[in-house]
Subunit: 224 residues, 2 copies
Amino acid sequence: MHDILIEEGVLAKNDGIAGENREMLRGRGIYSINMVSSPGSGKTSIIEKTAGLLDGLLRLAVIEGDIETDLDAERIRRHGVPAKQITTGRACHLDAHHVHHALPWLFEQDGIRLLIIENVGNMVCPAEYDLGEEMKVAVMSVAEGDDKPLKYPALFSASQALIINKTDLLPYTDFNMHRARENALRINPELKVFETSCTKGTGLQEWCGFLLSSAGAAAKAPVK
Amino acid sequence: MHDILIEEGVLAKNDGIAGENREMLRGRGIYSINMVSSPGSGKTSIIEKTAGLLDGLLRLAVIEGDIETDLDAERIRRHGVPAKQITTGRACHLDAHHVHHALPWLFEQDGIRLLIIENVGNMVCPAEYDLGEEMKVAVMSVAEGDDKPLKYPALFSASQALIINKTDLLPYTDFNMHRARENALRINPELKVFETSCTKGTGLQEWCGFLLSSAGAAAKAPVK
């Protein structure tokens, strides 16, 4: 009980900063998403492919959250995309304060219209922390099993989109796509579900189309 | 800073209860391990296979940690193994208190010599919580990528053994086993590394042999 009280205080403080982040990002016309998954589901590969497909259409920047190392930011920068690494040390998720500190860096980059935040690989804790993004995107890989939405419902109910990645591994696993979709939609009937393979290049155009139209719709919406 | 101070208080309290758990388990001659990994690395399948191989040799019981659902405990019980489900709700890891509450149930089971605790699927937070186990076992799947030990070092340095699972997927991924082992051993040179596939049944005898000999050595060690 005591732990939960502490946590609620932490979350309330986080939500306040997240609100500021959102306002600052909107004020500069930057659409932002927060990608959350287990380690190794392929978030970084999806961002690399997204950067390739959006090249020339929408300038993007990436904030990379990791416990240690800047391997992921290095991978992103190779595509000519500005990337800021945040190493969280012992913290198992990004919080709004981490992102807040990266905003001055972001606003120095030229003409950014899309911010992709890649959270620490963790299917549990990041689900609870609003970073100020417009959309949370859950990612899971076929190798993780089709029961994950039932076992980690908080992420799936907090997300607007779900990317089921590594579909190239489908023939070699007992992952049932129909059941996975059913499990995910049972938790959150509004989820947009995308099936992708970064090695085969499938499903990524659909995902990028959705991302572009979401960013476009947000840009046209009246400022609240 | 404030968050870390709170956390240290929580960890100190946890460690005290973990010490009690360890003493109670040792007192009853029960060897215990704590399996930690991302969601979907195959912990439950490994436990199922382990139960099959140890059948008739060493009676075991399982404590299953999950945010929601008792799917995993159900899977284990089908093998005739006593299993207790702990659903943690919002908590992203098991703590010593959770396990403490399950000990009366455990001590009611007949002739148990081995307790396997399957932690919540999370590569980050469970690494910090001693549950009172004798050995922490990290599990990662080939589908997660060979860079995981570098990105989540706390788990690998806290573990005595590492199971690299789903080796049947090796031909379909760019996972480099040599690099994975190198990365893991750079973090923790003492790690015992096992390569397993639950679908092909490979590597599991080695793992079970190690588990049996660890439990045997502990049983012969003078009580501290």
